[in-house]
Subunit: 182 residues, 2 copies
């Protein structure tokens, strides 16, 4: 599936867009669309600049951060991740978040693939990286970030996955990637 395929019988067209909210993380618009059959509908759209997530492996352990997420009202275990700032290359965001969140510096970090998290209502695209050959330094968290670093042995990931222990999409993708590839 690439952008350059034409599926004109599926495409809808935004005919007008009303900005509802323009925040630091998301912008929300309420759009009028023209459907493929010529009728109209409304779409609720959350615009997001994209994010990175990093599979960080060191000495047979996968690294996570545990943090409270206000939207879910729940403490969640996730792989390190963060929003891509405007005019920032995702490769740079990945290195920055790895250092900020778990204090890791990697000499072998590369992109695996990219995916939308919730294409039905949000534009967020996550660039997924894997980082190996890691050295640890200090965390460098932002002022409003509170998180624990958690490491889990690679050989216990399968059992935890099957028990429903992981509750975050990008984290399940990372864990399954490791089980398929390492």
């Amino acid at each position: 599936m690439t952008n350059d395929e034409s599926f004109d019988h599926l495409r809808e067209k935004v005919t007008s867009s009303t900005e509802i909210f323009n925040g630091k993380i998301i912008k929300v618009t309420h759009d009028d669309v023209l459907l493929p059959n010529g009728s109209t509908s409304k779409r609720e759209v959350v615009h997001h600049n994209g994010a990175v997530a990093i599979i960080a492996i060191h000495e047979e352990h996968l690294y996570f951060v545990r943090q409270y997420r206000t939207p879910t009202e729940e403490v969640i275990l996730e792989i390190p991740a963060g929003k891509v700032e405007k005019h920032e290359a995702p490769d740079d965001t990945a290195k920055k978040e790895l250092k900020e969140e778990i204090g890791a510096v990697s000499t072998d970090i590369r992109k695996l693939y990219e995916f939308y998290t919730a294409p039905g209502f949000a534009s967020e695209l996550i660039h997924l990286y894997i980082a190996e050959d890691i050295k640890f330094e200090d965390q460098a968290l932002e002022n409003d970030e509170f998180l624990d670093i958690v490491k889990i042995p690679v050989n216990s990931l399968k059992e935890k996955l099957e028990s429903g222990y992981f509750r975050d999409a990008k984290t399940i993708i990372a864990v399954q990637y490791i089980l398929l590839n390492l």
Copy 2:
């Protein structure tokens, strides 16, 4: 990771919430939060009632829907999925969406696990199901839904996954699940 563990050094508390938008799919609030260290911050929150997604397998093929997604401005291949309506049990949503989107009726549908799609800004929780023993009837799409049914042989999923062909988080989770378990 379950809800009943206490991580008080990580938790933040919403002290006031301003409703920005209340649509058919999402509600958006701008919240003031009290951080674990006593200082304050703001959170942008997209409230969503949750969704289901279904791994539908029939005669060694995995079933997908191809549809245009306005937020991503892209035609995307996804496993069948849909929003859980208020007062609807996810098990019922899963059966309904399977019928609506790909015309499938399954006598063996069961839940695998659940995950948040974008916990940094949205509350959406996806309940992931697997459906086998499928019979096909007619699609029963809603008025503003336009989608193609696509089936892909299970034995070609690995190559497609590694090439970056799949661009949707729940769909990558489904494909990896099949590669790990079937």
